[in-house]
């Protein structure tokens, strides 16, 4: 007998869900609660924030004091993974750049995300009329609204009702109050003509009505580490772990899916995967296959699932799979507020999501770039961690000392030690997150020459920014400087110019990549219909950020959750009507 064989299971599940993040987690949650027998495959280990979160540790409990050596967002950050994974490469093409962040763990990237939970607005779903640069979604805000509402109630979100046209309001818990530096921002921004409103985040600032399993936030400000009392949204704590309790969901961790299997009739029959621990090959079967592996991984899976019925890859007769990849734009600026030197100490950790933010407030018809951005703000008296005090020689020569005289930059000794105290908590930062145009020629495809350590062909990216994004970043920098000036801050970052695209981050860095398996009414121009169901394969669905036609300047997670819930309810409805088995 050959030592290499594929283990085939006889069980036929009602549905297989690939991936356990926001999209996969929600599908598993809805379907398991409806009584379907669901198998979920996750490429990383099981992760339960209750047990595994690094929450409430002090910096000295890390030998590297929280440095980002093995975890890109710091030693206590919840994400297992990062920009580069050992043995799982990706490549780029034509000297373009794309950074791909992958978290291999139950709940995926939702364990460490910023919890900024914004709805896309009516204009974000139908934006073609604005300037002809983008395609419309086949659905409207009104189609998604009931699901946004249900997600708000199920998961919990804070915010305020503002009545802004393209920033639809939700069903909110009270937002956290602004910190001191945020009051300065609010004041300065108002003078600069920039609107600032309370943040919108999926953190339980109060107990979630009707939910006994999740604790209310206790304001440690460490959502990025994931929450032991489930006080914020992670797909692990809020969706997958509750779904396991129904008895209808089975999770196989460390299962790296190779391809979606199809039968002679072209329909999906299941998936094949390699177990990362025993390195054995498996095939599992289901009546429905649902991909929630991430915009990159779902496209990769479909393109790797070639068969006689689907020679171009599954769900790809249109050839659009992998195309229209787009990440949010991002640029930032930081400085400090001299008027906050020697400030009084108190606990202002607050929540780990934004306390305030600026929704897009201008009219692009009067600007030289087509789409807008929102601004996120930071700063304050945080726990000192690796990097604390760096570059004091660039700060302490800028302001007078306690004696009123200017000091010489740099130094050492008791006077330097005192400077660290004086500057503590004065920092302020702002970061723009903007709409990038979805373009056919920004894409990922299979690299024909490279496989990962499991023998799976890897993704190759091709992505370029254009003037639409670069001019937007320039505008961000001008806005940031104007707010900094109005609030009396001293800018400490080098102000980026045209040579660096005004500080515009490389594609992928904002980790909002979407659009690779887009939906649409026309099967020649889209891979999925408006229910996220493959045009070419009616028992195949995609529930992560891949179906997005055009992202707004809104972080993707809340829309992923709403769309996945909508698709899951559609599946239930189709089964009830015996259209799907």
């Amino acid at each position: 007998m050959s030592a290499f064989q594929i283990k085939k299971s006889g069980t036929v599940y009602d549905a297989i869900v690939v991936g356990s993040g926001a999209g996969g987690g929600m599908a598993g949650y809805v379907l398991a609660h409806a009584g379907l027998k669901v198998l979920m495959l996750e490429a990383g280990p099981f992760f339960d924030p209750l047990k595994d979160a690094q929450q409430l540790k002090f910096s000295y409990e890390s030998p590297r004091r929280g440095a980002s050596t093995t975890r890109p967002f710091g030693d206590f950050d919840a994400a297992f993974g990062g920009w580069e994974l050992d043995g799982e490469p990706y490549t780029t093409k034509d000297k373009t750049e794309f950074n791909w962040f992958r978290a291999r763990m139950l709940g995926g990237r939702t364990n460490h995300w910023g919890r900024i939970s914004l709805r896309m607005g009516p204009q974000d779903f139908k934006s073609h009329h604005l300037d002809g640069l983008t395609d419309d979604w086949p659905i409207t805000y009104d189609d998604v609204k009931p699901f946004y509402d249900k997600v708000d109630r199920l998961i919990g979100i804070y915010g305020t009702v503002e009545g802004l046209e393209n920033e639809p309001d939700g069903i909110y818990l009270p937002p956290p109050k602004p910190r001191l530096n945020e009051l300065f921002i609010k004041q300065g921004a108002a003078k600069a003509g920039v609107k600032v409103i309370p943040g919108r985040g999926s953190v339980l600032t109060e107990a979630l009505p009707g939910n006994k399993d999740r604790g209310a936030c206790f304001f440690c400000g460490q959502c990025g580490r994931s929450c032991k009392v489930y006080g914020d949204f992670s797909a692990s704590s809020c969706l997958v772990i509750p779904a396991l309790k129904t008895g209808n969901l089975k999770v196989i961790p460390n299962a790296m899916v190779r391809e979606v299997l199809t039968g002679a009739n072209g329909l999906a029959t299941g998936v094949s995967y390699v177990d990362k621990q025993d390195l054995q090959e498996y095939e599992v079967k289901a009546k429905i296959v649902i991909l929630g592996a991430s915009a990159g991984e779902s496209a990769r899976l479909l393109l790797n699932s070639k068969s006689t019925s689907h020679p171009n890859g599954l769900a790809n007769s249109s050839g659009v799979v992998g195309k229209y990849l787009h990440d949010s734009t991002g640029a930032s600026l930081s400085g400090f507020l001299p008027q906050l030197m020697d400030r009084k100490r108190y606990n202002e950790d607050g929540v780990g999501s934004v306390h305030i933010y600026t929704p897009w407030w201008l009219d692009n018809k009067k600007l030289d770039f087509p789409r807008g951005y929102h601004i996120e703000y930071g700063g304050g008296m945080h726990m000192p961690a690796y990097g604390f005090g760096n570059g004091i020689q660039n700060l302490n020569g800028l302001v007078p000392g306690r004696d009123g005289k200017m000091k010489e930059a740099g130094g050492f000794g008791a006077s330097l030690k005192d400077d660290y105290r004086r500057f503590y908590g004065t920092q302020v930062g702002m970061a723009g997150r903007g709409t990038a145009i979805a373009r056919e020629d920004n894409y990922c495809e299979i690299d024909p020459d490279v496989v990962d350590k499991y023998g799976i062909p890897v993704l190759r990216f091709h992505y370029k920014w254009t003037d639409a994004e670069i001019k937007q970043a320039k505008h961000m920098q001008e806005t940031f400087q104007s707010i900094m000036h109005e609030m009396g801050a001293i800018i400490t970052s080098k102000i980026p110019g045209a040579d660096t695209n005004y500080g515009l981050e490389a594609p992928g860095r904002i980790i909002h990549e979407v659009g690779t398996v887009r939906m649409g009414d026309d099967p020649k121009k889209s891979a999925l219909n408006k229910w996220c169901q493959a045009h070419d394969c009616r028992n195949l669905f995609v529930v992560d950020a891949s179906p997005f036609v055009q992202q707004g300047d809104k972080n993707a997670t809340w829309t992923i959750l709403a769309l996945s819930m909508r698709t899951s309810e559609y599946i239930l409805d189709q089964r009830k009507r015996l259209i799907l088995s």
């Binding site: 602004p178 001191l180 107990a207 604790g215 209310a216 009084k344 726990m383």
Partner: protein, 212 residues
Amino acid sequence: MKRRESLKAIGLATLSTGLLLDSCSPDKAKVPLAPVASQPPAPADEVGRQAYEIARDKELHAATFFTPHEMATLTVLADIIIPKDEHSGSASDAKVPDFIEFIVKDIPEHQLPLRGGLRWLDLQCATRYGQPFVACTSAQQLELVTKIAYPKRATRDMLAGVAFFNRMRDLTATGFFTSKMGIADIGYVGNTPNRWTGVPADVLKQYGMEHV
């Protein structure tokens, strides 16, 4: 679940009662735990860490980078940068040299600039004072440090020393202010369950922010 119950669930029941404004709910709802495989419990600092991270940390802790002479020099420098004062102890009291020994193994890009910088320092001292840095008098040590601690006035021949000292100052500050002693000194009072209700009234008044 109310805040108090959720904190009990993770073993944080010993809070001062004034911190939490929620009413204490009498029903002690049991927190349902997610299914956890039955294995021997891992040491506290290994829970939630990936196997390769645990192995890597052990390897780094077992290795030694700096020679005893280099460590002695680092220690004198760290204490010149952050000395004991009326608020707290010195860099070496907060074990900053041990942190630097670890971090150069963890982030190897520090290794060459620090090793080379220490050697540069000794050579300067040997030329000027006929001794390595640690054997110099305190006045001699401060005289040399003063030449490299102020980037704007440093002479051209001292620039390599400035770059070294900037790095050394950064690592010393990080090592000190991330230690227990340094966190107490800087006055960070968070990382503990509480209820954030906004900027305290006296602070709002101090900055005239009552109505913003």
